[in-house]
Symmetry: C2
DNA sequence: GTGAAAGCGCTAACAA
DNA sequence: TTGTTAGCGCTTTCAC
């Protein structure tokens, strides 16, 4: 069966020899060409099957000077389900166009992101999708010169980079306005770390509070449900507790809800909570959350990318799509507790 | 800047011409060879930078007849956070060994899985990790002949495939024994679909119930929180409601909790709920769940894969690691309601 | 130190 | 219909 010694892939040359034909003929058979006699086709296919031949896509795309039909997806993290939503909808859309998607994890460290992006480009994809990219502009600039790039869930203002994103300032407006309309005045914000590229949420929150003439209160928990839980515990036990919490994303909101439950603080009777991203667990938990249309973003990104790939020239032919977020009100927000 | 017409990658030949040196010299410089004069090295590096040269990893590995330092990861789905845990811990471990990981989504359709696996192998990775693989044995057999394969979260009994998994029958034992010890007799099981490869959970549940002399009740919701919610709604409103629910995974458990909350059924006072996988949201929601040590599975898979890659011969040098699951008791399980 | 030549696995012109 | 030849971008002998 398999060769005894060092593992080695079976090549078309091996198949050709076994079948007693020339190398290019094997190539023709593998490509399903019509112009091959039935007899040789059979011989080749049998030889290939018995040797366990597997096409080498790397060599194919190199020789044919053609594309893999592959696009790269660089995700900062998958622990936030919203990124999974983007990925899945993108895969779905691109598959329909005959493209496959390979994902690499970037990470939160800019250097790591850079490195991952370079690794991805090394595979010579037809294009690259960046989700929550926080790398340097230099690595990005190099990529942009050679292949189409589209950023999702945030805008990257750079020549050659298309963007699909949701307006984060408006997200904050929606959340704050909703809470203020209910009568809240003491609204704290559980922000995403300052070094990840979603500062619009915190900025928007500050502006919205100022617009209502209310003082703002921003805290920066570690980016995890646990981190949020610890921060909320602190917030609720030291000094004056807010009557409402706007969380930078649903993962943080989940942690917040946990901490509140442990403290015996009732939601929404004692405190209201708003999340961000409207992930499926927000829906299941009855969490009021801002929807940034993740699946739609993935779909649009796929469309833009396909267009960029097809025209294949003119790096300034980029598109920018800003979506309007939508507040989904559920069971975690209501009137503030009446003053004692 | 970039060429006006059709987008084309800059090659070493372009760099060589611009720098006025030979092609191989550029290669040497790019590989950081010592045996190059400082002057030419500078010229080459400048030319490369100004042209925006990016190495072609595809051509490199082909020419050098050497590996990418890349391993493939085929995931059935990422909507279940437990698979993300496996992926992230694997990436962490393999990165430390200088390997990068590219992920492709398989899907639930066996044909799709097959296709994805072939696509992945086409990229000539050093090895492949399968998570929740449900493809055909033929595609797998072909892969196994050419490169190391390790299956995670389930066992694949096939020559050449290593496996890391948690004992699903024992999971069911832990859950059922816990509930029975609390006094439950009417325990229903929200099973994973029969066509995905985790039948051990349902089998184990049936056996455990039989062992206790109790009748079993298995229902098959659609594999999503929403599906579980609908199924549980049905279960609780038609006929006799069980006093406890053992769910095939935490996603289903989340849906179950949602449905119960909407029905006004209290957990754990009226009904106990046990999940599976001990995902981070189980921890945050106080869900009693069976931990299958996902991160540890990822780490072990990485170690096994590295070992298989290094020895590089003898396809029967495989390893099988069965982990023992652990029940984590939280707030969703307690005594059954006292009979009316 | 540097260039010429050969080759990785495959495809795409040819000619036969 | 088939084999021969050349070449994709890169690395790797091997002379010079």
């Amino acid at each position: 069966m398999s060769p005894a010694g060092r593992r080695r892939y079976v090549t078309q040359a091996d198949v050709a020899q076994a079948a007693g034909v020339s190398r290019p003929l094997v190539s023709l058979v593998m490509q399903g060409s019509e112009h091959v006699s039935e007899e040789k086709r059979q011989r080749v296919l049998e030889a290939a099957a018995s040797l366990g031949y597997l096409n080498n896509g790397i060599a194919t795309s190199l020789a044919g000077n053609r594309s893999h039909c592959m696009v790269g997806f660089l995700a900062q993290s998958l622990s936030n389900p919203v990124f999974v939503d983007v990925y899945e909808s993108l895969v779905e859309e691109l598959r329909a166009h005959g493209h496959r998607v390979v994902l690499m994890q970037g990470g939160f460290d800019p250097e790591e992101e850079d490195h991952s992006l370079r690794d991805l480009v090394t595979l010579r994809p037809d294009g690259v999708v960046l989700v929550g990219y926080a790398g340097s502009t230099s690595a990005l600039g190099a990529a942009v010169n050679s292949l189409p790039v589209v950023a999702v869930t945030r805008q990257i203002e750079m020549s050659g980079v298309s963007s699909v994103y949701s307006d984060d300032r408006m997200s904050a407006d929606l959340a704050v306005d909703h809470l203020v309309a209910l009568g809240h005045r003491d609204i704290a914000h559980l922000a995403l770390p300052a070094d990840i590229p979603y500062e619009g949420r915190a900025d928007g929150y500050r502006k919205a509070m100022a617009r209502h003439g209310l003082p703002d209160r921003v805290v920066f928990p570690e980016l995890s449900a646990r981190g949020a839980a610890e921060m909320v515990h602190e917030l609720m036990t030291e000094g004056s507790a807010p009557t409402a919490l706007f969380c930078g994303n649903d993962v943080l909101a989940l942690g917040a809800l946990d901490a509140l439950a442990r403290l015996g603080v009732r939601v929404p009777e004692d405190i209201s909570v708003v999340g961000h991203d409207n992930t499926s667990f927000a829906a299941r938990m009855g969490l009021t959350s801002v929807d940034q249309h993740a699946r739609q973003q993935g779909r649009i990104a796929a469309e833009i990318l396909m267009r960029m790939i097809e025209q294949e020239n003119l790096k300034d032919e980029i598109e920018t799509r800003r979506l309007l977020p939508r507040l989904v009100v559920r069971r975690t927000t209501s009137l503030p507790p009446s003053p004692r």
